[in-house]
């Protein structure tokens, strides 16, 4: 399996402006969030990138894409009917091939030499199946993420065979359905915001959307995927940062700066700030 395409979703209500935000990256260079997401994708050897946006946002995105504009294909979701529907809009772009998928309101920082997307693509190509990046998450964060249940693959440290996928589960349901051996109580594997998906996902989404006229979450399709195909979760070495929540952008910037070349400067600025405020 070779992954050549990537799809970013940025058409959710209130999401349109997020990838346009400017931040300073680890190297001290100022970039838009969109550029950073594309760099994440680019590092994984992806050839073409699709981005699902709301009508009227294309010009702003073109400006924010910087040097990567030529590799971008824009897909317009006319009305915000749902996450699953957004992916379906890009069916023609995907062209029946496996693809990398990232959400437009998250940035990722790797703890190893390899970027998070790259780690995931390597696993997917090796295992030849859909793989979602997952991250051990405390139960208090369950209202914000999709989560998986399953078993650790024998002879591996970070791979899980996914049996159950639930979008924003209650802790009650999580405890019943998503407990994974080896994890402490109250810790669940939640989605990281990066997936490698096979075309089967789009087929399932198609079926689900045609069956009911309602927003279809990706998690619902992934649950079905788990029953039809081999589907893995991969604990990536890195952190995710949601720029769409309160103080999300600030936290993301701090994380970038404190792991980059400007660490000392940012730290001393913070101490100074603490001293006077």
């Amino acid at each position: 399996m070779h992954i050549r395409k990537a799809l970013i979703t940025a058409a959710g209500p209130g999401q349109g402006a997020l990838p346009l935000q400017r931040l300073v990256d680890r190297d001290g260079a100022e970039k838009t969030a969109l550029e950073m997401i594309i760099e994440e994708i680019d590092s994984a050897g992806i050839e073409s990138i699709g981005i699902v946006i709301s009508p009227g946002n294309e010009d702003a995105y073109r400006r924010a894409a910087g040097p990567y504009i030529d590799r971008l294909s824009f897909v317009i979701q006319e009305t915000p009917t749902g996450y699953g529907q957004a992916l379906l809009c890009a069916k023609d772009f995907i062209e029946d091939s496996p693809f990398l998928h990232l959400v437009g309101d998250h940035l990722y920082l790797s703890n190893s030499g390899k970027r998070c997307a790259q780690q995931l693509i390597e696993v997917a190509e090796q295992e030849e199946c859909s793989v979602s990046a997952v991250y051990p998450t405390k139960e208090k964060m369950l209202p914000y993420f999709g989560a998986i249940g399953g078993q650790r693959l024998p002879q591996t440290d970070r791979l899980y065979s996914v049996k159950k996928v639930i979008e924003k589960p209650t802790p009650t349901l999580a405890e019943q359905e998503l407990t994974i051996a080896g994890f402490r109580s109250g810790i669940y594997l939640c989605f990281f915001g990066i997936h490698v998906l096979t075309p089967m996902v789009l087929q399932i989404l198609d079926e689900l959307v045609s069956k009911s006229n309602r927003p279809v979450p990706l998690a619902e399709a992934l649950q079905e995927l788990a029953s039809r195909e081999r589907y893995l979760g991969c604990e990536v070495e890195g952190q995710r940062y949601n720029i769409g929540i309160k103080y999300g952008l600030l936290n993301t910037q701090l994380a970038l700066s404190l792991s980059g070349v400007d660490r000392d400067q940012v730290l001393s600025d913070m101490i100074e700030l603490l001293a006077v405020r």
Partner: protein, 1118 residues
């Protein structure tokens, strides 16, 4: 499951029985294990069992060993040694037991036993400690299991409101612009009816050890009160909505209570008000996780996290459609389940916001309801939340498998398996036939079934012989009931449930029936003959919820008749048995959809009527500007609604404006009753002043601290405890026999008291309570006492007058009853000596309440129950403070506001009311009286004891017995070197009672002339009421007055009961022994003769240890 069949266990039959996987060995009975063992062999077995229970890591093996040990020490070992080996109880061990440090108590008691040999006192204490430890171990395990159920665990980790992982469903936040309302989520739930009753097998302990035998047939039913409701409907409802203030508002429309909660900790204060069930539901549903107890955070923080919006709150409302408490249909548990369900739907834990529930959700809610019951300090069986489920289902215990958290700990799972028996299993016509035949009723009795469930558990775990056989038969009957129902043969179902009730159930627990139930069955048989098909007991015991099967062709007429018969029978028995309210007949239908929710939106988003009756007056009294916009809109809605409906306007006015006083009010009745019963206002005011000044009170009951309390020596008592020592000596007892034969003896039974402990302050006549079956019939205390006098009378050809002293509460009912039964055809004279004085109860002082709860010894309860108890005590202290300390207690029925003034007055009353004078005139030969308590059932005119009294030439001879752990309340002592009886509350120090070998049974032999001389009276003087009054007053002034705290029940609503502690005063008979002018003797008698039955919970042990048989041998029922 681990097997522990090591060589050592196999060689010991007890351990072999406990650990065996073979049913035939595992189910060996206690009787077969104890058969033929002497004292040493029993002690050896106990010692080995004790070693085993300490070593084994299997919970149920340990628990079974505890119960075997308790039974050995309670029922078998004491029979092997003489009562003369009375022994003393170490105070520290007793304290350990009270503080629930059972292992420490056992260690200490076993050490004493090892050093001093087995004694009556030590055996009884060891038995209690093992028993309690067994129950505690089981309760702990159920609690652990509830916590470890998947889906419940997270709630024990989330301790901070901002970490709360639940979010309110957004639909509940959709404001309706037109109606200006938030939607209301409304849940309606049925209750459950168990029409198999497989021997209380839904007790968790049973289901977890013997899942094969744990099974019930449980139907969800809608109810309507016959004659009142148009049609049956789900009886419990819950409502939830968002409100525009950041508080948690709880409203119970059925109990008329509401509260606005602003601190999270308040939710854990269960007994503060009547909202404990709603609070339990909030916790068990995870909305306020149990781990947040004691977090000291604001409710607004938590609400903001859950609702996702600052400034908003939640309102939870409960409603029970006027179904009485104690209906045995698990109304409370199903209301809890209903509340939990609505909260879990609203927070997404149950996926469907509206409509029915999926099986997985029903299971989860069932688990949460169990958790809620545990939090509230109560605990039903695992079938109780059956109303959440739909239709008729078979609920069965399940063997624990490897994936269950119970695996390796107990044989069975905590939660049972439900199989819905739909139309394929039970055809429609069978269900219709059931509804056309069965009449469900509530008998009106509300009783605590807790002791019964404990008895059932113990009897199961030790495999008591006949009880075990009965259980096996109940299981067979269960299967036959299911088969009959499948075939639609309702007549056969009725026969089987009747057989179950009269056979297995009453064999396991004889106390599950009572005279009321038996009478109703007899009446049904007499009136309807073969058209009465059978009886069904619901729940833990009869008298509350019950079922009567009739031929469908006459069921409508039978229903009308049954209601009349129930009410008439209740009226006839209401002074003898604790009824909470009048009986009710229900209409019922089987509920086929289970718990059901719907969203009320727009103009439909209205709370039930009872809600506005509680909230509207409160809102109206406030300034409009102080009300939130939502409250203002609700008042506007109410205004419109009142204009269009006169009924609502009327009840609103009734709630707001004062009502004219009832001309025949309780206050007037009380005033008259006090006047009629010799109430002394002057004395009452003096007591109030002294109480408030601190001159009298619980602490002041005690003797001076410097008093020296010592045990009496061997020569200080006449020891008649060892019967075998004198039975053969024919000369012994001769003077007693002669006195009886010469018509010199009469019996005085004290029956004036209100039996607070027996009835829990219910205000019924203990003496008339038909509490136990003798010779195949329920007999009352009074009947048994007369039967003993009859036997003595026949044996000696003697005339024995029998006096029952009565009080304001007991006189009328006792007199009527004895007239009705013609004194049970007693051959001699039966007299009633009516009490001549009465007191008015007072609201206790906070000082006395603190002393009572904090200084006096009390058994600490299981952790959660103790929390609830302490929360209730805090509320009661608040009540005493606000209602006015030492104020008159008048907020109850008049009889419940009065109190008897102590049994010292009973003999003086016989002088004052002329009954003693009349007795002596009609039978001048009388020389002796035997005075005894109504509950001292073994007291009889024993010629030997009487002869000792006569020979001693004493004025009074008090009987004492070897003390056991239950015998608290003073005893025979040397006080500063003088022999006398000391009341428990007069002990200078709690430890002092533990120095005393003998407990006073209160039975007293009286030399009439010597006693009269003490009063400075002669037989002739008894005709002068002036002389008698003066004599009584003079002697009474020499005796101490005690302040006591007693429980009194206040009944309200539909079967609701509150218990209040109230202050009263009393003078006690035992203090006659303090007077130097009276020559007293003390006779030690056997325990069975002197023991008292104070609480119904003692009954089972009383039968099992042979005491009941002992009493029956003394009786002649004619």
């Amino acid at each position: 499951m681990k097997t522990e069949q090591s060589a050592s266990t196999q060689s010991n039959p007890w351990m072999e029985t406990i650990v065996s996987l073979e049913d035939s060995t595992r189910h060996r009975t206690l009787e077969s294990l104890c058969e033929g063992l002497d004292s040493n062999e029993l002690l050896k077995a106990a010692s080995e069992l004790d070693v085993f229970r300490r070593k084994t890591d299997n919970l149920y093996h340990r628990v079974r060993a505890h119960f075997f040990l308790a039974a050995i020490y309670r029922y078998y070992l004491p029979l092997t040694f003489s009562e003369e080996r009375a022994g003393l109880l170490p105070y520290e061990a007793y304290q350990h037991i009270l503080e629930r440090r059972f292992p420490e108590a056992i260690d200490q008691l076993l050490t004493v036993q090892k050093n001093d040999g087995p004694t009556v006192a030590i055996s009884s204490a060891i038995a209690r400690a093992y028993h309690q430890l067994g129950i505690q171990t089981l309760a702990d395990q159920v609690r652990r299991s509830v916590k470890t159920v998947r889906g419940n665990q997270w709630m024990f980790r989330i301790g901070h409101p901002t970490e709360h992982p639940l979010r309110l469903n957004k639909s509940l936040l959709q404001w309706n612009l037109e109606a200006e309302t938030y939607p209301i989520l409304c849940e309606k739930t049925s209750v459950r009816m168990d029409f198999s009753h497989s021997g209380w097998s839904d007790i968790f302990f049973l289901g977890m050890d013997y899942p094969e035998g744990a099974r019930v047939l449980n139907a969800s039913v809608n109810l309507g009160v016959y004659g009142r409701d148009a049609e049956p409907k789900p009886p419990v409802e819950a409502y939830l909505r968002v409100i525009d203030r950041p508080v948690l508002r709880l409203v119970s429309t059925d109990l008329g209570a509401e509260a606005e909660i602003t601190e999270i900790d308040e939710v854990f204060d269960f007994a503060k008000d009547y909202l404990g069930l709603l609070k339990g539901a909030l916790i068990a549903s995870g909305v306020i996780p149990p781990a947040m107890e004691g977090c000291h955070r604001k409710m607004s923080e938590l609400l903001a996290t859950i609702i996702g919006r600052e400034g908003c709150g939640l309102e939870l409302v409960s409603k029970v459609n006027d179904i009485p408490k104690g209906s045995r249909l698990a109304v409370s548990t199903n209301l809890l389940g209903c509340l939990i369900s609505v909260l879990m739907r609203a927070t997404g834990q149950v996926p469907s916001l509206e409509g029915g529930l999926a099986v997985a959700d029903q299971r989860l809610i069932t688990a949460r309801a169990i958790l809620g019951e545990w939090l509230g300090g109560s605990g039903g069986g695992w079938q109780d939340s059956g109303g959440i489920w739909q239709g008729i289902k078979r609920i069965e215990g399940v063997l624990a498998s490897e994936s269950d958290p119970e695996f390796g700990i107990s044989r069975g799972r905590l939660l049972p398996h439900h199989t819905i028996l739909d139309e394929k299993h039970i055809p429609l016509n069978a269900r219709e036939a059931l509804q056309e035949s069965l009449v469900l009723i509530y008998g009106g009795m509300a009783q605590n079934v807790g002791p019964i469930l404990e008895m059932v558990t113990e009897k199961y775990l030790v495999r008591a012989n006949k009880e075990w056989k009965a259980r096996l038969r109940a299981i067979e009957i269960f299967e036959a009931i299911v088969d009959s129902l499948k075939q639609g043969n309702i007549k056969q179902v009725a026969e089987l449930t009747t057989e179950n009730f009269t056979g297995p159930l009453q064999t396991i627990i004889p106390w599950c029936t009572n005279r009321f139930t038996d009478s109703m069955i007899e009446q049904c048989r007499a009136r309807w003959g073969s058209q009465f098909w059978g009886f069904l007991m619901l729940g833990g015991m009869s008298g509350g919820g019950m079922g009567f099967f009739f031929d469908p062709s006459i069921q409508p007429q039978a229903k009308v008749w049954l209601l009349d018969a129930l009410v008439a029978t209740k009226r006839a028995m209401q002074m003898r048995l604790p009824f909470a309210m009048d009986p009710v007949v229900y209409d019922f239908t089987i509920n086929d959809w289970g718990s059901w929710a719907e969203m009320l939106t727009g103009t439909q988003a209205v709370m039930p009527d009872g809600y506005y009756a509680i909230l509207a007056p409160k809102l109206i009294r406030k300034d409009l500007r102080e009300l939130s916009p939502q409250s203002q809109r609700e008042l506007m809605w109410l205004n419109r609604s009142c204009r269009s409906g006169e009924t609502r306007a009327r009840w609103l006015l009734d709630r707001i404006l004062p009502q004219p006083a009832d001309t025949n009010s309780h206050a007037d009745q009380l005033k008259n009753l006090l006047k009629e019963n010799g109430f002394d206002r002057e004395q009452h005011e003096q007591i109030r002043t002294d109480l408030l000044n601190g001159r009298i009170g619980l602490a002041e009951n005690r003797l001076p601290r410097q008093s020296v309390i010592e045990d009496v020596g061997r020569d200080d008592v006449i020891d008649l405890r060892d019967r075998s020592a004198w039975n053969d000596k024919t000369a012994d007892g001769e003077s007693g026999r002669q006195a009886i034969a010469a018509n010199q003896v009469a019996v005085v039974t004290l029956a004036a008291g209100v039996g607070s402990r027996w009835t829990g302050g219910a205000g019924v006549v203990k003496g008339l309570h038909p509490f136990c079956k003798f010779s195949g019939k329920h007999r009352s205390f009074i009947e048994i006492h007369l039967a003993k006098s009859r036997q003595t009378s026949r044996l000696y050809g003697a005339k024995i007058p029998h006096v029952f002293t009565t009080g304001y509460l007991t006189h009328g009912p006792t007199e009527n009853h004895l007239n009705e039964v013609s004194n049970y055809r007693y051959p001699g004279e039966v007299l009633l000596s009516r009490g001549m004085s009465v007191g008015l109860r007072m609201i206790p002082t906070v000082r006395d309440l603190k002393f009572f709860w904090q200084e006096m010894p009390h058994q600490v309860l299981d952790e959660q129950q103790q929390k609830v108890r302490e929360s209730g005590q805090a509320a009661i202290m608040g009540w005493a403070h606000t209602a006015g300390e030492a104020g008159d207690y008048t907020d109850n029925l008049p009889f419940q506001c009065m109190h008897p003034v102590g049994h010292w007055y009973e003999i003086p009353n016989m002088m004052r009311n002329g009954s003693l004078h009349r007795m002596l005139q009609s039978q001048p030969t009388l020389k002796y009286l035997m005075l005894h308590n109504i509950d001292t059932l073994g007291a009889s005119l024993d010629p030997l004891v009487l002869s000792r009294h006569i020979d001693s030439r004493a004025c009074l001879s008090f009987e004492v017995i070897s003390r056991r752990i239950d015998d608290r309340g003073g005893g025979l002592a040397l006080v500063d070197g003088k022999r006398r009886l000391v009341e428990g509350m007069a002990m200078p120090n709690d430890r002092d009672e533990f120095k005393l070998t003998y407990y006073s049974s209160m039975t007293t032999w009286i030399d009439i002339d010597k006693l009269l001389a003490t009063f400075q009276l002669s037989r002739e003087d008894l005709s002068s009421s002036e002389m008698v009054d003066t004599a009584v007053r003079n002697l009474g002034n020499k005796l101490p007055t005690y302040i006591t705290i007693k429980d009194v029940k206040k009944r309200w609503g539909l079967g609701q009961e509150d218990v209040f502690p109230v202050t009263q005063f009393e003078k006690l008979w035992g203090d006659m022994s303090t007077l130097t002018s009276i020559d007293c003797e003390y006779i030690a008698v056997e325990i069975m003769r002197g023991q008292q039955l104070k609480e119904p919970g003692q009954l089972d042990g009383w039968v099992r240890d042979g005491s009941a048989a002992y009493v029956e041998r003394l009786c002649d029922f004619g």
